[in-house]
């Protein structure tokens, strides 16, 4: 049994920050092609700040997964900017509200992903197929629900991450109708949505953290 506890949540944020930094240029290039070329830098700035605050000895120790996610939420909100800042900020904030416990069972992981999706939709009012990060979060939430009965929370995470990755891939042919890419109309087709891609990276990092990475 993998334990998805506070330490896991912290490893998740560390792994996400490292992976987003590695993918910074890729994300920026996607956004340069169909947006304004700042998504990689925005996410890197935000997640670096999250890690910095997690590592700050002056911060109160976290006792629940939700506390880690709340700190990540407020930090992302105040450092990312752009569309992604409030979207990821709200996602994490909503997720933090359903994870106020020391560790998560499978159902807790499902609740986390669903709450994040709800937060993004509440803020951004996008639906599936509009070529946004919703196209990664929604299949992730669905896959998580279907895996809810798994014994081990890591299996739920794996299902969600895999679905997010294919959802992100599937944004490539889409024509954007939300966010900055929508101004390109047909010209937005052919490029993966940067926010969907960063979603896939962050959920993959959650799996890696459950497997022990990011310590």
């Amino acid at each position: 049994m993998t334990v998805l506890d506070v330490a896991w949540a912290e490893r998740w944020m560390h792994a996400a920050a490292a992976d987003v930094r590695d993918a910074r240029d890729e994300l920026t290039e996607l956004d340069r092609r169909i947006g304004d070329g700042d998504h990689g830098v925005n996410m890197d700035r935000g997640l670096s700040a999250v890690v910095e605050r997690l590592d700050d000895p002056a911060q109160a120790p976290r006792e629940t997964v939700g506390q880690v996610l709340r700190l990540a939420a407020t930090t992302m909100m105040s450092t990312v900017g752009g569309a992604a800042g409030p979207l990821y900020g709200t996602a994490l904030l909503r997720a933090s509200k359903v994870t106020d416990r020391a560790d998560l069972p499978s159902s807790g992981v499902v609740a986390l992903v669903e709450a994040a999706l709800e937060g993004i939709v509440a803020r951004g009012r996008a639906t599936v197929g509009e070529k946004t990060m919703v196209d990664a979060w929604q299949p992730a939430a669905e896959a998580a629900e279907q895996a809810e009965d798994a014994e081990d929370g890591i299996d739920v995470l794996r299902a969600a991450a895999a679905a997010a990755a294919s959802g992100a891939e599937a944004t490539i042919p889409l024509v954007a109708t939300k966010g900055r890419a929508s101004y390109l109309a047909e010209r937005s087709a052919g490029t993966q949505d940067p926010g969907a891609r960063s979603t896939a990276i962050i959920l993959a990092a959650a799996v890696a953290a459950a497997e022990g990475r990011g310590a």
């Binding site: 920026t28 340069r32 169909i34 947006g35 304004d36 070329g37 700042d38 830098v41 925005n42 700035r45 909100m77 105040s78 450092t79 990312v80 900017g81 752009g82 569309a83 992604a84 800042g85 409030p86 979207l87 900020g89 803020r123 951004g124 954007a176 109708t177 939300k178 966010g179 900055r180 929508s182 101004y183 390109l184 109309a185 010209r187």
Partner: protein, 331 residues
């Protein structure tokens, strides 16, 4: 990429520091979180007018902080909207007790961050009204997009709302006037070259030597379509016609004509475009009653221009003419 900058991550702060030093009489720059406040603050009892958005569009918005226009501006990272904590700090600092009008350009990021920032200060009991500027006629099908973008017309909204606040109008009146400007202002832009965001290090798109991008936004993103470059005469028509048609300008109407440079365009070329746009309006029987020519809403060093038309009535004209004392606009 060559720029007169040092660390790209510090570029906005470095620039704001110079801005604060150069205009200490008119503005004050606060950091942590970052925003720009009118020197001396909003006169007590007056409505405050606040705007903001990504950096890289200078002098918008910080250059318009001062008497008769904005009480505060909230600059984000380059082409990235500011964060809610910046927005709420600026709204709070600007409030003079009579409420705040937030002027937001219609981009998902700006709308979302301002929304959250506004929520935060409303919780503190400050009255806030918001107006979303969406003057860019290049976005044809706003049903299938995030809606029309806010571009150069923002200057007119900020000037007129600022003048209304300065003469003592209450929040509802200032907001209604801002909405009237939004309803009557349209813009269309062209890019001759792309711009390079400092931390990206390469241009936002590539244009062949004989191509221009019609319907460009202000974030270095590609526009709606490309045409072969064809001189100021033809290009100006491609900008002015959609604007005039969207506004349904009728013969006998009076307008403000604003030709805006995107940052890397010589002033002399803006006047060539202005002359041509003036002719085209005259052909439609439209009188250019007020003018503005210059680089006010830019995209870093992009070469290009936009043409903005605002339908004027007596009150809007009077508010446009009202005194303004800011680093970038003064009369």
């Amino acid at each position: 990429m060559k720029k007169l900058l040092d660390d790209p991550a510090q570029a906005v702060d470095d620039s704001l520091r110079g801005f604060a030093l150069a205009h200490a009489d008119a503005v004050e720059v606060r950091f942590d979180p970052t925003f720009v406040l009118r020197a001396g603050g909003t006169p007590p009892g007056r409505v405050a007018v606040v705007s903001g958005g990504g950096s890289g569009h200078e002098p918008l918005h910080a250059g318009f902080v001062g008497a008769g226009m904005l009480d505060a501006a909230v600059p984000g990272a380059v082409f990235t909207s500011p964060t809610p904590d910046q927005v709420s700090a600026a709204l709070q600092a600007a409030d003079g007790g009579a409420g705040v009008l937030a002027i937001v350009k219609n981009y998902t990021g700006d709308v979302l961050n301002f929304e959250t920032g506004v929520e935060l200060v409303e919780a503190e009991g400050i009255e806030v009204a918001s107006v979303v500027v969406n003057d860019d006629v290049a976005v044809e099908d706003s049903l299938y997009t995030a809606g029309r973008r806010g571009v150069a017309g923002t200057v007119a909204v900020e000037k007129i709302a600022g003048a209304a606040a300065a003469r003592g109008d209450d929040l509802a009146t200032v907001a209604a006037l801002a909405e009237r400007v939004v309803a009557g202002v349209r813009t269309m832009g062209v890019a001759l070259t792309a711009c390079t965001v400092p931390h990206v290090g390469r241009p936002g798109f590539e244009l062949a030597d004989d191509e221009v991008e019609i319907g460009i936004g202000i974030h270095g993103e590609p526009g709606r379509h490309r045409v072969t470059a064809s001189g100021a005469h033809d290009i100006t028509r491609r900008l002015l016609d959609p604007v005039a048609e969207d506004l349904e300008l009728a013969s006998g109407e009076r307008v403000l004509l604003f030709v805006n440079g995107m940052g890397g365009t010589p002033l002399s070329e803006l006047y060539v475009v202005y002359a041509r746009a003036h002719d085209l309006l005259a052909e439609r029987g439209v009188e250019v009653a007020r003018s503005l020519v210059g680089s006010y809403v830019t995209s870093l060093e992009m070469q290009g221009a936009s043409v903005t038309v605002l339908r004027l009535d007596d009150e809007l004209t009077e508010l446009w003419d009202a005194p303004v004392h800011t680093p970038a606009l003064r009369w």
